[in-house]
Amino acid sequence: MKGRSIEPFFWSLFSSGGMLAALVLPALALALWVAIPLGWLQAPSHQNLVTLIGHPVTRFCLFGFIALASFHWGHRFRFTLYDGLQLKHLFGLIATICYGGATILTAVAAYVLWMF
């Protein structure tokens, strides 16, 4: 089968995205989207965030993280649909939607961070 040779590539994206998400996201999400809205933590000032995100290294890290997280989702969700809903016969369509969605999100992230 032709598609089989590219499988390890997608798996490596899935794997590194999953590892980064596991290490970073619980704390980041808890801080940004719970602790700050509830006032446990002071929201960073706009000026400080502009300085932080303005730095190329920060933007590169954000881009890498969002890209890998997207492909983590694309790969895992593809198999969730195959196994969970038994849609293996829609092989091509589901793979296109999942990896296509991940590619679009990666492109949007590249655009946003490039234009920042």
């Binding site: 590892m19 997207s70 969730t80 016969h89």
Partner: protein, 136 residues
């Protein structure tokens, strides 16, 4: 991939499995919940990107975004997402010893050590994130 794995072939005999097969047993349910954490991961990536967009649009857009995060519905949804992210992290690290077979001086590093290293790494990264954001 499993060498036994075959693509769908209508001519072969296959036992019918109900679509909601994973509701029948808690371990199946946990498997599907674990797989569904990828939705929480991609949600977080999108929200992070939206926060960057808000910052880039200026002070007012950023203030509006912070106000949006304070809405009770949004906060509740985000807490649910964080539970999903935690489930992802715990299941991910717990599988690490099986995924990562490391050898040192010809001997396999015990599972407990690999597990502990991952949890210590998680703790360190989390502390750095909280510390960094508190100083910002």
């Amino acid at each position: 991939m499993n060498p036994e794995y075959r693509l769908h072939h209508p001519k072969w005999y296959r036992r019918k499995v109900p679509i909601f097969w994973w509701l029948s047993k808690w371990s199946y349910m946990k498997f599907i919940l674990r797989e569904l954490t990828s939705l929480a991961v991609v949600y977080a990536a999108v929200l992070l990107l939206l926060q960057v967009v808000a910052v880039s649009r200026g002070e007012e857009a950023y203030a509006n975004f912070l106000a949006f995060l304070e809405r009770p519905g949004v906060l509740a949804a985000n807490i649910l997402i964080i539970l999903g992210l935690l489930f992802h992290a715990v299941t991910w690290f717990n599988l690490a010893p099986q995924a990562l077979v490391l050898r040192l001086l010809g001997r396999r590093i015990p599972d407990r050590v690999v597990l502990l290293a991952h949890y210590l790494g998680w703790l360190t990264v989390s502390a750095l994130i909280f510390g960094g954001l508190a100083r910002l």
